[in-house]
């Protein structure tokens, strides 16, 4: 057995692979990258380095709104420190927004064909063991599997599109047609899913935007008050019409973003997602055991874990090369390949 030669070279996509591809008669000169054949509905930019969702115009609107509301303010010079603070906040907001929109939110790659077949086979075996007399022998797609997480029972439902049991906290986004880890929601405003990898950037974006609104509003009020000191109030209002308009816009933004920020702050402290909150996973009125197994116990650790925890790697290998012998197989539905499963 020791002399069975195994040529295992994942690090070299070079000559060896090209000749192999040609040998199989599928020799196209250009290797395809994996994002080009990706089955989901996401958009990719920069040769697969950037992931986003199909509707990018939301991001552009958002960007325009920020620039329109904030830039006029930056021109106002009351004290040299004030525009600097505004500028720093602005850069942080843009940084968070870019991260939220353009990184992979935690997409779970679809199951490979052998894995999907194996899941299917195990489920059929289980069905036969339970002897479902109602539909004897008829094929049933897998539905769910039960797991215990820190003593609480959870159902992992089967995703027909991705052909796997969704990991705990994951959910399928119908807009992007992908399962996303720790799915929070699909945000059309930033035009991406909010999931495990970009939740913190989304949260910081919302919070910084709320802070920015407060800051700009405060400065506008200060401008009016300072002017009112020099002249009478009516004159001051006339002179600072621009500040008033800006203040009203900021107040409007604050009403929407501030509420969102408070809501997400509450969720961060409890280490829950919007999705779980809406479904009431931890609502004691809905479930007998409503404990949250993902919480670290106290709100400080929860905040640190969500906001400063490790940055998880992107699981979809966008920049890898498609194996010409594998990609044709991957497209085959399990239904076609099901004939290969042994019956017993």
């Amino acid at each position: 057995m020791a002399n069975s030669k195994v040529n295992h070279s994942p690090q070299k996509p070079g000559a060896n692979n090209n000749t192999a591809a040609m040998g199989e008669g599928q020799g196209s000169n250009k290797l395809q990258r994996k994002w080009e054949v990706y089955p989901g509905r996401n958009k990719f930019f920069c040769n697969g380095r950037i992931v986003s969702s199909p509707d990018i115009q939301g991001f552009l609107c958002c960007m325009a709104l920020i620039i329109v509301t904030d830039c006029p303010y930056l021109a106002v010079k009351v004290h040299p420190v004030i525009p600097v603070v505004g500028g720093v906040l602005f850069i942080l907001i843009i940084g968070c927004l870019v991260q939220t929109t353009f990184i992979d939110p935690g997409i779970i790659p679809r199951a490979t064909l052998p894995e999907a077949l194996e899941t299917d086979r195990l489920y059929q075996l289980e069905c036969q063991n339970q002897e479902n007399a109602a539909n004897n022998g008829a094929y049933q797609p897998p539905r769910y599997k039960e797991v215990m997480i820190k003593g609480r029972q959870f159902k992992l439902s089967y995703c027909q599109t991705c052909q796997m049991y969704r990991p705990p906290r994951a959910s399928h986004c119908s807009r992007c047609n992908n399962c996303v880890e720790r799915f929070d929601h699909h945000c059309p405003m930033v035009s991406n899913c909010i999931g495990k990898r970009n939740y913190r950037y989304f949260y910081l974006f919302v919070t910084f935007t709320a802070l920015m609104c407060c800051y700009v509003l405060g400065c506008n009020v200060a401008v009016i008050v300072l002017r009112a000191k020099d002249t009478d109030i009516g004159e001051a209002f006339k002179k600072s019409a621009g500040s008033i308009i800006e203040g009203v816009i900021c107040l409007g933004c604050l009403a929407s973003v501030g509420g969102l920020s408070c809501y997400h702050s509450m969720l961060v402290c409890k280490e829950q997602t919007t999705n779980e909150d809406i479904k009431g996973t931890y609502n004691p009125r809905k479930f007998k055991d409503a404990s949250n197994p993902y919480s670290h116990g106290n709100f400080i650790t929860n905040c640190c874990a969500v906001l400063c925890g490790p940055r998880h790697p992107s699981l979809i290998d966008r920049r890898g090369f498609v194996d010409p012998s594998e990609d044709t197989q991957a497209i085959v539905d399990t239904a076609n390949a099901r004939g290969r499963i042994p019956e017993s």
Binding site: N3, S4, K5, V6, N7, H8, P10, K12, P13, N16, N17, A20, L31, I91, L92, I94, G95, V98, I108, P109, A111, T112, P114, E115, E118, V147, M148, I149, K150, F154, M164, P167, P168, R169, R182, R200, L204, P293, Y294, T301, C304, A305, C308, G309, P310, R311, P313, L315, I316, D317, R319, G320, F321, V322, D323, S325, E326, Q329, R340, P342
Partner: protein, 164 residues
């Protein structure tokens, strides 16, 4: 992360040729079994402690007679420990995240994170285990990163799929 291709040269090994002859292939093709035609064993994730990355150490039946339980469990336990080290909350990850935030996330472009370094270590460990333990026994571990960290895939190189 790169394209993966693997061939087994089994001309040296009489036992390996038999299932292939049954499959009725030509002599030229006999020397190679692409890895995607091997039967595969899947070690699932263990969610009992939450969503943190860990694989179950339960020994899969399909591997019986191919590798002993202790060796298999040692590998999985070591992998789990390495993943735990990557995911655990420590001062280092806190500093990394704060630094990234202060630089408006530009630091992620040039600095590789603790997690990425651990993934490299894990890849090295998987390769080392493959070379020393699994390939002599006709098995091959696939780095879980290539399967979305959802399953640990073990290929049985000495058999052809559908033949079991």
């Amino acid at each position: 992360m790169n394209k993966r291709r693997l061939f087994v040269n089994n001309n040296d090994n009489e036992r390996l040729n038999e299932p292939m002859k049954n499959a009725g292939q030509k002599m030229d093709d006999l020397s190679r079994i692409p890895v995607n035609q091997c039967p595969k064993v899947f070690v699932q994730r263990d969610y009992t402690n939450g969503t943190q990355l860990a694989f179950t150490t339960k020994f899969p039946q399909e591997l019986e007679g191919k590798i002993d339980v202790q060796t298999f469990q040692k590998t999985v336990t070591k992998l789990n420990a390495m993943y735990e080290e990557a995911e655990t909350l420590s001062g280092k990850t806190y500093c990394e995240s704060c630094l990234a935030c202060l630089t408006a996330y530009l630091s992620y472009i040039c600095i590789s994170t603790h997690y990425e370094q651990m993934l490299k270590k894990i890849r090295a460990y998987v390769n080392e285990q493959n070379q020393n333990v699994y390939q002599p026994r006709g098995l091959l571990l696939i780095d879980p990163v290539e399967r979305g960290l959802r399953v640990l895939e073990i290929c049985i190189l000495t058999e052809q799929a559908g033949g079991r």
